[in-house]
Every structure is written in C-alpha cells, then in structure tokens.
Symmetry: C3
Subunit: 453 residues, 3 copies
C-alpha cells in the first residue's frame, strides 16, 4: 500500500473546498443576523446575542454574574444599557444618532442631557482624520465619561452653534452575562474554545469569532465517540475571561490540553498565529502544523503583540496552553475597530477557510497521544498483507511512509512528533496509525512512555 | 611540549596510507574468494561463507536456528538450497543458467520443471531496461514464486518458441545460520559490529561488509588490554538481526555503548553516514567526529533513508546506539543490487579507506570516558617538566592545547566533548590525557561526575 | 505612563557622559601614582601598591602568606626583592639600568655579579625585533635564571667587549601579599571582583584593573542597602588566585552569584568579553546584556583564548561564574607586555568607559532575582492610575512595556530574562518592577518558583 495515499474520511478530513460555500454562507448568514445587535461587555445586547447562539447550540448555558462580584484583581462592573443617544442642533435635527450606527456612541458612556457649544461638544467627539468616512470604535469601561464617534468628514462639517446632547443610558448594578458548553468525551482532559461577544457591529473583530466557534461546537457535538472533553465559552473580552477563570481556574489548569481564542477569523487575507506565552505547547504545535500544511502562507506573531483573551489564559498563575489561529490579526488591518470592519470585509469564503483550518486542528487533536509498537524490531508486514512480497529496488520505497511511522512509534513521539520526524502531514499519519492499531501492532496512550520501559 | 604534535602509536593511529596497500589487498583477496559462493538468507552458501571467515577468526561461533523458531513478530523461514536452475530452448540450449551467474535465479525461488511459451516465461523474467547489460538482484523470501533475472538485452533477444524451465531447489524446514564472536574486555560494556552474509555475488553491498568486519575483529582480538567488550556478528540481513536480537535483547540493551552496521564499505566514492534513529548517541558522535576529521567529505543521511540492520537495532523497544559509516550507501549508486556491483567497483583502496576510518572510530571509543582533574585550579605543569619555565609572549601558545584539555577535564566532558570544545581531533587529545594520567593529574571514569561533586 | 521612558536614578543609572571626565581623571591619576612602583608576584612593590589602594578603600585588609604554604598543586614561592640591577661596560658606563625602567630586569631574576663577553651577555637579553623601541616584559617565576630586557635597537648597538652584570636581588623565604574587602549585603550571596597587582609599569595590563576595581568598590561601599555581599580581591595573578581559592573555596563555591576579573579596562579601543568556561552563567548573561545595550560593538572571545585569573576561577573543581568585561583583551594588542602599554595608551576616557559598563553590570545584578505577579490574570491597572482609562487604538501601545513585563513576571524569569523576552534594556525594566512592587502587584524572590506552583 501507499500509506500516504489513503486518508480516512473522519475526523481528520482536509477541508473540502466544495463544502466551503455551504458552511461559509451559513456562517455569514449568522453574522448578518447578529451584526445589528448593540453589544457591550454587559447588558441586553450580550443576552440577545447568546440567545441567538443557543438556538443553534442547545446545550449552551447562560450565566449571570452580579455587579461587584470580585474576580482576582477585578470586580464585575455596573451593567450598561442604552435606550437612546443623539446630538441634535438648534433646529432639532439629529446630527449624530446612535440609532443610525451602534458605533456612534462611546461604549459605557454615562447618561447626559445638556446643551453646549460646538467647542464643548467637540471635546467629546472621536474621529479618524486618516479615514474620514469611517466611524471609530471607542469605549471607556472603567472611568465614567461620555462621547460620540463619527466620520471625520462629518465632524468637520458640524457648524458652530448650540447642540443638545442626549444619552439615555443606565450604568447600574446588574450583571455580566456569559455562556458555556462542556461536551464530555472519553477522557477528562479538555480542549478549550473561547470567543468574545462584546463588540458591537464589527465583523472580523468580532462576529467572525462567535459564528465560527458555534459551527465548530456543532461539529464537535456531532462527533461520534469524542476522545477529549470540549469546553466552549462565549464571554465579554478581558473581564469575561477573568471572571470565567476566577470560577474555573483549578479545573482548567488541571485539565486543559490545548485551547484556542477564536477571533478575527473572517476576512480573506493571509492567516496569522498568536502563540502561547512561552510557546511550544500542544496548542502551539498543532496550530503551527496545520498552518504549515494547510495554508499557503501565514504570519507567526510574537506574544508581545497579543491583545485578546490569551492575555488572561496565558497569564502567570493561569498558564493555559492557548493560541489563536487568525486571518487578519486585530490591530494590524486598517479597518480594525472601525465601522469599516463590516460584512463586506468578512466573507463566506473567509469564514469557511478559517473554520476549516480550526476544524483540522481539532481533528488532529482528537488523535493526539503517544503511539507505541507492541513488539521490538520491525513487524512482519508481509504476513498481514501490508508489504509487497517481491523485493525489488522499487518495493522499498512503496512502504516507506508506513515503515517510517513504525520506526518512531516508540511511545515517546506523539502524533505531531511522528508527522514532523517523518516529514508528513499529521492527517496522513492518522490512517497509518489506525491500520497499525487495527492489526494490534501499535497501541495508543495518553502519556509518553518512560524511555526504554 | 607541543601536545598536539605528539600522538601515541596505538591504539589511536591515524590510518597509515602505506599500510593501505597491504590491508586493501588482503581484504580484496578475501572478497574474491567469497564472491562466487551462492548465498541467501539461509542455506549452505551462508555456512560456507561463515566457515571461510572462521578460518580467519578462530573464535567465531556458528549457530543454527531451526525453521519455525519464533523471533518477535517473525519466524525463521524454510531453508532454501539449489542444485541446478536453468531455462533451455527447444534445441536443449541453456539460454539462462544459474551456473553462469548466481543472480540469474530469484532468491528463494520455488522448484519448477515445466515447458512454457515465450510469453509465459516472460512473466517470470526480471531485467533493467535502463542498464541492459546488468543482471538485477531479486528475491521473494516470504511468498512462494519463481523467476529468473537477466540482462535486458538478452531478454529482448529471446525468440518465440517453447522453453523448458528447471529449478531444482528445496524450500524445506532446516535452519538459519549466523555466527558471532565476543571479545571480552576490562569492562562489560559492549561495542557492536554487525554485518550480513546473505547477498550472493555482489561486492559493495555486501561482501565489503564481512571482509572489513573480519579485519576489524582481527585487529580488536590482537589489541592488548581491551577496555570494552566487543560483540561481532555475521548474519543474514533483517531476519538474522531480528533472530539475534530475540536471543540477546536484554544483554545488548543493558550493555551496548555503541554499534556499527558494517555495509557498503568497499568502493572509492565519498563516505556517508547513517545516523541512529534519534541521533546524538556515542556511536553517532564518534562516527561524525572521525568523518569530520579523517575524510575530505561525506554525506550525512537521514534515518528516513535507512535500509539495513539499523532498522532492527534502532527500532522502538530495541533502541541500540547503532550507526553505519559507509562509502556509497546502498540504494544510492547505480550498480546497487545488480551484477555491476562487482570486484571492479570495490577496490583494495576503497576497502582499506573504510577499514581505516572504522578502526579509527573503534580506537577512539577505546578511550571513551570522562576525565577529571584531581585538584582544583590549574596544575603546576612547570615542576613536572610539562610547561616552559620562561614566560614570554610565545610560551603561552605552546601549551595551549594541553591547558585547554585540562580546562575541560571536569568529569562531565567525555573524550569527544573534550576534542570538540578544544577544537582538536580526539586522536590528538588522547596522548595529552595519557600524559596527565601518568602524572596523576587526571583520572578516568566510565560515567560522568555529578556537577560540582 | 510610558513605562520605558522612566528610569530611576539609582542604582541602575546609565553611565553619565559628563561624569566620565571626573572619574576618568581620578582613575588616571591613581594609575600615574602607581605606575613607577616595581611590582612582581611577591615583594615590597605589591605591599606599596596595596597600601596606596587601602588609603582609598579603608576596609581593605592585607594578608601575608608565607613562602612554602601549599595551595592545591602549588606552593607559595620565595619572595623576590631587588635593590639594584644593571649592566655596565668596561668604562663603567651603565648600558642597561633597572633604575631607568622596571621592565629592564626579568621578573624573579636571580642575583648575579659577573663579568662576561658580549656573546655571553646576549644569551640573557630579550628584545622585540618587530618593535625595536619597546622593552618587552619577561618573567621566570618558577625556574631560577636571570635576564635583561631592552629595546632591540639598543641591543644591536651594544659593542663587543666585556660587561659587568650586577643584579642585587633576594630570592628568599618571605611571603606572598594580597588584599581583600568583603562588603556585607542583605543576602549572603556574593558578587566577586578580582584584579591583579603583580605587573610592573604597564597600564592597560594591568594598572587599569586595580584602579577601576578600587573605584567600583568605593561605589559599592557607598550603596545604600546593598542586596548582595561583595567580595573584592587584589592579588598577584595565577599564584594569588590559586592561594586565595585554596583559603576560600568552599565559601566562594557556595555563595558566588557572579564574578568579574577586572583587567585590561583602560584603553579606548573596542570592548571585549571573556566568557566563563561553560558560558550561560549569570555573569555571562549580565555582561552580554550590558555590552549589547551599552557599547557600540564588542568582541565576544572564546574561553580557549583565556589568560587571566578566570583560568583558576573557572577551573574544574572551582567552577565559579566569572567573566571579564574588557576593552583591548590581553595578548591581542601590539603594546601588550611591553613598555608601550603605558599611560598614553590608557586614558581617562578609556578608564571611565569601562568603569561605567562594569558599574552598570553591578547595578543590574543588584536587581537580579525572580519576579512574580501576586494574582492570576492581568491586574486592573486602571484603578491604580497605571492605565489610560480611555480605550483607543493608540492606548494599547502606551502601556505595552509594562504589560509585557507583567506577562512574564511568573517567578521563573529573572530580571535579565524579562528584559530579553520583552526586548528591553534591563535598566528600563527595573523601574517597571519597582512600580509593580510598590503597588503590591509583584514580589521578588531569590530563587525561581516551581512551575505552576
């Protein structure tokens, strides 16, 4: 047999391009539905978003954490909700209106109802001179203030005069909302998927994350005989992951095998990789392997350029093996944190591509473990029909891949090591290992063997 | 003294070119005697070959292992012997005759006596269109079939007509034959030399291996006060090493310090190195060091291109530190596994060169161990006549090599480490260490010291 | 705050160029005072030199070790003193006179009073044909002989005739003199500064060493609340450090955190670094870090080119973490060990530069240790006024350095690791760590934490 020519269909399928259209359209449809919802780190926008996702993931559980609840060095902030926010001129015309675009209002803006001059108003305006048609995204979670964001062109066109500023928001004790889903497997060790649901009306950062995570969770939920347990969480960035860790730290530290912060997975630009804090974890290794073999090119970033929940998951004292496989990384593309990060930047093909790469990574992880031949020396493949019986110059090359995998099934190389040392894609090593296991030539174990034992 | 300028004569002599002629002629003579013997993995050809070698190595012991004896995943196959094999045409002319060249008959061909058409015969013929004058080497050890091998030119010239195919072979319970020799040393740790004696009438692969190994064994047998024990084995490739390991695994795993599969050591092309499975063993290190310092250039191969008994010696569960220092590696040169791998390809100079390199490696291994100064700080070499007493700008450089060796004799650098860190050939470090030991400035030990102990 | 923009004034000040003039002049002045003293490895020149330094370092203690005292493989030699040494011609004219230049007399020359021919005299003369105006520096500590050193031009001009050679030296039991000073700190762990005081009338090698060491010792003595203990030793090269180690080995092995042989720190050429024997110690790391960040370029030498007391401090069985930060390394510059290594080669700017680099290294060492965040996840810097409260695209970059340091304060990265992994100069990391410690966000400890503990 030519071992490398056979691949089992499941669960390590290479992303099938003809599926990409379907899954991509589905994901893009979900993103379109979620786009208008007015999210922040707390409030009803989060709840509506999670309710929509729960319709697609029935096991998802929503949790409410009251304002003031301590979480390490932090406390859950007041809940923020808004009913109306606008600036009107003396004629009563609304020159800036939150109803037109969620980004017009600074996140966590305090309530205000006051008349002021053009100059007084301007001190509370935010715009981007270098992108005069885009609305920037601005928040002030932990200091009370207010502000409006608008296209620079619009700001410059505001005439002198008096303006009436109205923000009908509440900043009051309430709760922070997050959701999680734990899919049990044969083993207690966990794989973590974490994504955030606190950004209003932006698509690559962030809606791509929740929709791809939801589709991955559906795929995992349908997976027969899962090896690992999967923990899938949807939460507000930073404060959400801090709160979540404050409640699950011990379990997650003890059990997490690998994790992914799913963010910025929707555009069609090149892929990128945010490593874990120290690098070299199983998550780093599987992400690097899949990207090396599955995408034409990608940018490996330094952890110094981190910016999402790996800041908490990888922090000292937490130290989970968590990475991010992304397309255009946050803070590196011009549309980031502006109204231009929309559903034209994020496309069905972009979403489907990232979904496929992440699914491939999860599929390989399902086969993670240490493989060990059951007997010293090479097995006699011939008597099992696994080896050509006629020895010629060419026949040696025919079983090369299988023999190479056998040579390193020593209980100390895991799947990714086997692939690396044999110069193969791990997805092509899996069917070889399955053949060897079916012939009782090789056993799987969760932990490496002692050398020589 | 200029330490690097003095080398002791024995046992780390650089290969002396004027000896090369003698040893090369001897080795080539042995190869000429052995060439016509009709070897396979079992049978009388192996016995005759080993009997010839025993005449040169009196301690060599032959062993017979009965057909059916289990060896890990394998069992000893039936023994194969042949008395006659030919194809004759209707006129009674023998158009292919095993008597003309051993390679004409497929190894382990089953008996046959039948008339057939030119087309029926052709399905059992093997030839090399790209080398029309060479006979290929083909075997079928583990599936019963028959075949003849011949020059492609000859095959194409066979006219239509009826042919009488006769193979008078026996494939019956018998035994597998191998031989070994254990030369005891002061220490129980072993150095392994393994070579194979199952290929008929080919010279680089394989007769170069048994003749060079025999000469190395003679040299080791004559070595006064051997430090290590030497295990030297002659066996059929693959099944032979599997059988041997099945009988000696525990001892060999516990004791083997380094080992060499001796094969393809006869032509005059560049050297090559097959590393051990994981690399970095003492065998890898000594082979690399000797090749780096003793030959103009060599090819370091990947273990993925292995093909001889390192497949068994380095397999998971066996894991011996075994490498091959070769000239043209099997499966890389055009004449490999054909009648063109003959005694014009293998030459006295080619054999003598490889013999010298392997003997140098064994010579360095005899001095392997950890060297440790007996006192803190530099010793006072002057009072022992080891240091110039007049301090000038130049005198510093004179003892540089000795002082460098002293600086790293910390009980944690072995001989090869000392050579590497001091930028010297290990053969030039040995006399320095002997001088230091003679002056009680330094001690040898088999195992490294604990740091700082 | 822009963390990297703030640096505390003390004790990690970058060398201030406007101080360089003052300290440089002071050091050069000391060197001028010490230059004429006739030093060797024993004798009154050493005592006078140490007495001069004690006037500047009141705590310095002089020790006398009697001739014959054993020290590992060595013994303290006879003490050497000279009252007069010259060669006069038949007319009574002194053609070579030790009174003119200390280097004229071979170090440890035995007494002589004899008439001889020009040819007999010449066998005892040393000169440098390639530098005909320089006097070479020659010694013969451990074999009795005598000799004179002179410019080659002068040697060639000596006419035939009879010469009267007079050396009024004593080579008799006496003692070897060295001095040390231990400045206690909060912790028993020690930093070693070692320099030598046995070379007569040469400036880069050696007077630059004792004067820079004296100034560093003054700075350390004045340092408020020293963390570490400092051991500062002035001794004759080789025999002095061997004797010193023979008396303090156990303490120094147990306590030495890092050490520096201070030598060749006076000219204005490029910097150089002599690593420790195995490299990678705290001394190697701090020296490399300071040189990487503080000087335009430097030469990292191999330990194989060592030549000063690191030969003893780093020897097997001693193994202290000792390096040398130098300017022009001994044995690499043309003036080395000649009369041209004088106080025009060594300059105030050269001395001040090396003093500054070494002081920076000591300043960083004072902050060596392992820093660990007191709570999992990122701290809430905002509530402590350490974080901008308005989240914009730019604000992320503003606290980047502090956040990066926080991300690696895991109790397993020491100060130099933190600097390296964050891409910062360690002197810029110190104020960030001080801020975090002041806010109780981070703790210091001497030893690394267990992973994950």
């Amino acid at each position: 047999m030519e071992a490398s020519g056979e691949t089992s269909a499941d669960p390590v399928p290479p992303s099938d391009p003809k599926d990409a259209g379907d899954i991509g359209q589905t994901l893009h449809g979900w993103a379109r539905d979620l786009f208008p919802i007015r999210r922040s780190i707390t409030g009803n926008g989060v709840r509506r978003t999670l309710a929509y996702l729960k319709d697609r993931l029935p096991g998802l559980t929503l949790h409410e954490v009251p304002t003031g609840t301590p979480a390490f060095d932090w406390a859950v902030p007041d809940e923020w909700n808004v009913t109306e926010a606008y600036v009107e001129d003396e004629s009563g015309r609304r020159v800036i209106d939150w109803a037109d675009h969620t980004l017009h209002l600074m996140g966590y803006a305090e309530p205000v109802d006051a008349w002021m001059s053009r100059a007084e108003l301007d001190a509370h305006l935010y715009s981007l001179p270098e992108h005069p048609d885009w609305i920037p995204y601005i928040t002030s979670y932990y200091r009370r203030r207010w502000g409006f964001c608008l296209p620079h062109r619009q700001r410059e066109a505001l005439p002198e005069g008096r303006y009436h500023v109205v923000i009908r928001s509440t900043l009051e004790p309430g709760s922070l909302t997050y959701a999680d889903l734990v899919l049990p497997g044969r083993e207690p060790e966990e794989v973590l998927l974490s994504t955030y649901i606190c950004h209003p009306s932006m698509a690559n950062n962030e809606l791509s994350g929740p929709v791809v995570t939801t589709a991955l969770a559906q795929w995992l939920a349908a997976l027969p005989d899962r090896r690992w347990t999967y923990r899938i969480v949807f939460l507000p960035e930073t404060i959400g992951s801090i709160v979540y860790l404050s409640r699950h730290l011990e379990t997650m530290r003890a059990r997490t095998l690998a994790g992914f912060v799913v963010t910025c997975v929707g555009d069609e630009r090149d892929y990128s990789l945010m490593p874990s804090r120290l690098g070299g974890t199983l998550a780093d290794r599987v992400a690097t392997h899949v990207l090396d073999h599955r995408v034409p090119r990608y940018t490996p970033y330094s952890f110094l350029t981190r910016g999402s929940d790996e800041r908490q998951y990888c922090s000292p004292g937490v130290d989970l093996p968590v990475v991010s496989i992304m397309r255009s990384k946050y803070a590196t593309y011009p549309e980031y944190h502006t109204s231009a990060d929309d559903l034209s930047l994020v496309t069905p093909a972009g979403l489907a591509g990232a979904y496929g790469v992440l699914r491939d990574a999860l599929g390989l992880l399902e086969h993670h473990g240490y493989y060990r031949m059951t007997s010293p020396c090479e097995p006699q493949l011939g008597k099992r029909g696994l080896y050509p019986t006629l020895s010629t110059k060419e026949s040696g090359a025919m079983v090369r891949n299988m023999m190479n995998v056998i040579a390193y099934c020593d209980g100390r190389h895991d799947l990714l090591d086997l692939a690396r040392v044999c110069g193969l894609y791990a997805g092509d090593v899996v069917p070889i290992l399955e053949t060897l296991q079916a012939a009782d030539l090789c056993t799987w174990s969760k932990a490496p063997s002692d050398r020589g034992a």
